[in-house]
Every structure is written in C-alpha cells, then in structure tokens.
Symmetry: C2
Subunit: 243 residues, 2 copies
C-alpha cells in the first residue's frame, strides 16, 4: 500500500498568497466547469478555437472479458449470455452479468461487469488503484496480451475460477478508422500524446493508435487516468500528435 507521506499544509504562507491562490483556483474551476464547445462531438474535430484536433473520450471502468467456457462454469451450463446495453463501439455491449473478483490479499471487488461479445480469452481490466487494493502487480498491456498478466479469482453464482494470467492495466489507446488516421497523420501502432485541459490538465503519453474501419473515433482512458485529469466520460481530449 502507498504510505501517507504528505504533510502539505501551507502554514507559512501569508494571506496575500492565500487570496491569490483562491483567485487562481476559482478562475480555473470556473473555466473547467463551463461548457466545452466540442463536448458532444462524436467524430474528429479539426482545429478551430483550440490549436489541436479534439477526440471524444470514453472512460473505462474495471471490466471483464470471458470465454463461453468460463462464462458457463461461473453462471451455469444452461445460462444465456445477455446484453444489457450497447457500448460506443459497434457490436460491443455491457452484459447483464457481473462477478466478484478476489486478489491475494483476500480483498474483493463486487459487481465487476462482463462486457460482450464473449472472447477467445479470459481477461480482467483493472486500474492500478484496484490492483493496489487487490494486492496484484499487473502489467500495463494491450487487451488480449496476457503473457505477463496477474492472477485473480473470479466468483460467480455457479462457481469460481482461479485464473493464473488474467489481470492487466489496459494501455491508453485511441480507436479510429484509417480515414481518421490519415487525417491525423498517424498509423496503426503509433504512440501519441493527448492532452486533457482543466484545473488538473494532463498530457498522456504512450497512447496507442488502433485502426479499424468499423470503429468510431474514441480515446480510452482508465479511471486512474481520468480521475488524475479530473475529466468525466463524454468529454474530449486534444490530440497533440506522435511521440
């Protein structure tokens, strides 16, 4: 666990500093909370008021992908895998099914949703905050790359499985078509930088470009990244270009 090592009081700063800081914080928070022009954008937005193109953001909470075999082991042989609601990417959906995940500290996180369709592998995508809580050390990896993934126990209503290599922290990535990529001057596999504006403005590096002509343009950040930048789902990021 992280240690509590911050004695951050500003006991020696005088009133003028406090007033100035209050003003700065207030200004920045007001700016952050004002409507963003491109908030509803669902496609690439080329530079206008901003110096950079903007891309819609999706924040990924912890979630699970399962094979049909593992699904039936956890939920029962006769149980159908059912959709709850579609996701932003065509064909992807949140299922009606959730599991409890348990790590080596024997702490559990309940209600972790299985996303569909069912896959050819079992995978749990967690944030590093989750990993510290659970007591695992997962790699930062792309979905489906499980050679160094961490172990977890998954508990369902019909049984449990211990998966030796299932947990990863998903790499930051952007889904786009080849046409989007051409417009942005990038190719599949490139590593790029994006910026989130605001009071906790942050530049995320090593963002992987993934192209597929069936995808909608969308940046994916996990909850640690999103919370660090104080940004909500359905916002936008600025695309700063290749690393």
């Amino acid at each position: 666990m992280r240690s509590a090592n911050c004695g951050c009081s500003l006991t020696t700063s005088g009133p003028p500093d406090d007033v100035l800081i209050d003003l700065i914080v207030k200004e920045v928070r007001t700016a952050l909370r004002s409507p963003v022009a491109d908030r509803s954008a669902t496609r690439l937005t080329l530079p206008s008021s901003s110096a950079y193109p903007t891309i819609p953001l999706g924040v990924s909470n912890r979630h699970i992908h399962l094979t049909v075999t593992t699904f039936h082991r956890l939920f029962g042989e006769g149980v159908a895998f059912e959709e709850m609601r579609p996701l932003y990417q065509p064909g992807e959906f949140a299922s009606k099914h959730t599991l409890t995940i348990v790590g080596p500290k024997l702490r559990s996180i309940p209600g972790v949703r299985i996303l569909g369709p069912l896959r050819t592998y079992d995978q749990v995508e967690v944030s590093l905050t989750d990993a510290v809580f659970l007591g695992i050390d997962p790699p930062v990896a792309n979905s489906g790359t499980l050679s160094e993934a961490a172990p977890l126990t998954l508990v369902g209503p019909n049984g449990s499985v211990y998966l030796e290599q299932c947990a990863i922290v998903a790499s930051r990535h952007i889904h786009m078509t080849n046409a989007d990529a051409a417009q942005l001057g990038v190719s599949d596999g490139d590593l790029c930088k994006v910026r989130v504006a605001g009071v906790k403005s942050t530049v995320f590096e090593n963002v992987l470009i993934r192209t597929n002509n069936s995808w909608r343009l969308q940046m994916h950040l996990d909850t640690d990244d999103a919370n660090a930048a104080n940004v909500r789902d359905e916002s936008v990021v600025e695309f700063l270009g290749k690393m």
Copy 2:
C-alpha cells in the same frame, strides 16, 4: 459512478501487430523497471543524462488534518496526540491515530491517518477516486483553502463529527526553498509542468510552486496522479518549467 464503457478488444489485429505490440510493451516495461539513476536523490538534480532537472516525488495517500478541539472530540478529552513516524518535510509527522470517513452514499473508508502537527482547521484530503466512492464532489484546492470543500462525517473511538466543508482534492504542488526556486527559474505561486517517464509517461500541468526555506525539495502527487503515471513513492519527476 463511472460507467463501464470500454469494449477494448483488439479482435481485428493480426499476429504481426500482436508480436510488435508485445515487443514494444516488453521493451518499455524493462526500461521502466530498470533502476533510475537519481532514485535516491533528496535534493535538486541538475540535467545530466536527462534533459531536465529531476525532483524527488512523494505520493500522498488520503489523510486528515484536525484542530485540537476536533481531535479531542473524536478521541476523548484526556487523549494525547502522538507521533508514529516523521514525514519527509521537517516537523511534519504521521500520528498514531486514524479515523473512519463516511460520505453521503453511507459508504466508509476506514483507517484514514491523521497527520501532525494539529492544525487551525479540519481538512480531509482525498483522491477523486475516493470522492467518487464516497459520493462527494470536492474541489481541487490547496491545503487550507476550504471555502468550496465537500462535507464528510469523521468517526473516531470517542464520537463523530459532521464537517460541512472539509474534503478537497489537493492540488499538485512542489515544496522547495527559495534557493531551489532561483535555480529552477521559478517563484512561489508559479504554475509549472513536470513529467513522469515510463510505460504510462505523463506530463502533469498546473503544478503549484510553494517556497519555504525550511522545506526539503519534493513534488507531491495524490494516488490518482501517481497511479495514472504508474509511478511509486520515492521516485523522481522531470521538471519541465513554467506553464
């Protein structure tokens, strides 16, 4: 709560991409895990192999500051406020005392440590991840700036208090002496940028410079920022300069 909105499988990528991605990920992880030359630095390190000065990093877990009045109300009149261990900044310490904090969703976080010395205000510093869990919407603010702080209930062994304005997400900041500031070309109150290298390399903007000649040079990030950048306590950050 954040929604599970990521259907991030790379089902359409062929083997060549996967091999390449594996190689990239392995290289970057190896680089990340190799010893950092300046890891043990406790003072400003001027450019050598890196193009930028490096600054020691301290990661701040959630913690509490209390007045003597509130401390006695929660722990009992005759109870002494006792030090457990010193912190990095001179005079600051982790106390032996912890509380449970409870938000409006009636979810609680136990074992939140009180840092000393006792203050002239009651304050709870949380991450945005904590805030989402607790169901509060705290401002990003500097320690001691509580005009927009969120409410929480604090529960101790001798009673509880409901504090209308106590919870903040602490601003990113760097403690330094005036000599350090002069060497870095900055002044108290400046907003700067720092970078954390690694597989999740990240540039943190709006980092406040705080100067006091009794302080040791140290950057403070909360656990969301640190986990987003996949960086541990006792690492270093690169100082990129003013915003």
